[in-house]
Symmetry: C2
Subunit: 353 residues, 2 copies
Amino acid sequence: MPELRGPVEIVGTGLLGTSIGLACRRAGIEVLLTDTSAEHVRIASGLGAGRPRQEDDRPEVVVVAVPPDHLGEVIAEALRATDAVVTDVGSVKSGPVTFVEGQPRVRRYVGSHPMAGSERSGPLAASASLFDGRPWAITPHSFSDPDAVELVEELVRVCGAVPVWLTPDEHDRAVARTSHVPHLLSSLVAARLADGPENHLALSGQGVRDVTRVAAGDPRLYGQIVSANSDAVLDLLGEVRAELDRVIDAVERGDRGALQSILEQGVAGTQAIPGKHGGPVRPMRSVWVSVPDHPGELARLLADSVASEVNIEDIRIDHDPGRPVGLVELVVEERRAEHLLSSLESRGWATHR
Amino acid sequence: MPELRGPVEIVGTGLLGTSIGLACRRAGIEVLLTDTSAEHVRIASGLGAGRPRQEDDRPEVVVVAVPPDHLGEVIAEALRATDAVVTDVGSVKSGPVTFVEGQPRVRRYVGSHPMAGSERSGPLAASASLFDGRPWAITPHSFSDPDAVELVEELVRVCGAVPVWLTPDEHDRAVARTSHVPHLLSSLVAARLADGPENHLALSGQGVRDVTRVAAGDPRLYGQIVSANSDAVLDLLGEVRAELDRVIDAVERGDRGALQSILEQGVAGTQAIPGKHGGPVRPMRSVWVSVPDHPGELARLLADSVASEVNIEDIRIDHDPGRPVGLVELVVEERRAEHLLSSLESRGWATHR
């Protein structure tokens, strides 16, 4: 894997950007800071997240950490103005790809998305340990250069996070389910509290505090995020609405069996959430696949792996520029390896058993 | 205030019952344990929550801590079989009242409900500190005897909890808002995880874990709770459904303003939750009210206070059995005292300014 030498440029010194700067500095990597707000750069710099970028700096990697509405244009500008590998940390991944695809420099762009955040925002809330042990999606598009993908993976590891490999579209459907829809439902529960008589709220216990915690997040930011992922969000909201109707019907009819079975699906859902970092170690196995060394093949392999619904825990790419075929190692849970192998073979990939 | 001398009998040695036993034992009060499961009594007793009840024991207070479906009958039986003050810790308060009202012994019954729990259950999850600083609703009905009310308040304080005064009906509407509906929505979010591709769930962060934590609770228990409070729950679920339709409509139409205003209501809701125990101390003021010393008057005062939407932080009852009128002290936030005074006066109460 290529070593991340730096400098790393951070464009947008909010919570995420500043935290990435702090994590890179912790690893001794030079960090350059850019923001439309000079005050944010001053604060981030004062916290030790890096120094203001100068005209003639030459970053190795640019991390775009601006609000969702501006991601596409800032990524395109970073690709134009530098020779760096460019990534972003936006919550929705198919939008920026649409914005930059077709540009000759697009091979240097690899999207990513750390699953870390806070209901607080701004550089003052930043921390070098914000990403420790947290999932961080890496979402190569069909033209991403393997070297660029590996450099972004190295950045993720420098930040202490756990890479999760998904295509941009799969990522967006995944976060609709694990983040955007939970946020919207949390907001609907919280809004009922705002409507309620003040003395009723004295009965608020830990449960409702947990359910509504994320609803305290910045409405402007989450409005942008949800809007950018509207298709995937609407699909799931439709399901939630149908299930809500089933709940209302069950309570109205006094149908205990129906109500209990809905609650049991909820229990099953809480059990489906993977154990936190530090949970029991699951046995892993490597699956080797030959990949033609030209644009789009790595992304196609990733898309086919994702389609098999196997979680790729790690990717290692062995590509000798002189050879027409590279070897890619996919690390997956042992119990899922056979399924991945046969799924990839059925899609025409040459695996090495 | 009458001192709680004990013995306290706990009927139902699950999580709540055993925790109350432990808290009373911590205060040196004798505790008697009863359960249909001899094993639960053995475990609770082994944990130090009390001793098995004997035939000739004479409890001062009986705490009924059985599943919602059995509350009414067990409360009625405790009133019949003992001379004790009887309370229960059920999550819904109007049902049991309906069950026992009209009985001559009903003056000895005062409902209550600690806002503490866990997604775990059973005596092994119990703790003497489960209620420390937590709200604990006390819900006298119109025939509760003031002495009985005060003894239950003393039990609440022995457990380290903060009394919250509400009528049974108001309590049920309050917990629909702060507990039952949040639980159901949490279950709907969690159920979507059970449906999702396994590799998508790798992106689960702290947010979705928080939103879905309560959904891990026992489906049978929560099915009983929601069913017992169906009217209040259905009212709120209707509101949630209407708001969900507004969210879907806003996302479909790409109406950022509408979406953002819905999210802003959520933020307002999170801010409406009262500060946790240990938050800033708010200045308090006492409001004094004359209360005729006959059945139903204390409950009527409480109902009228609740109707004014002021949170009663404490009640002290000064009643000399020889006098036809008692004096009740209601402790409320200073900024709400004027409002409470004029609200009570407009309903015909004699206040002392």
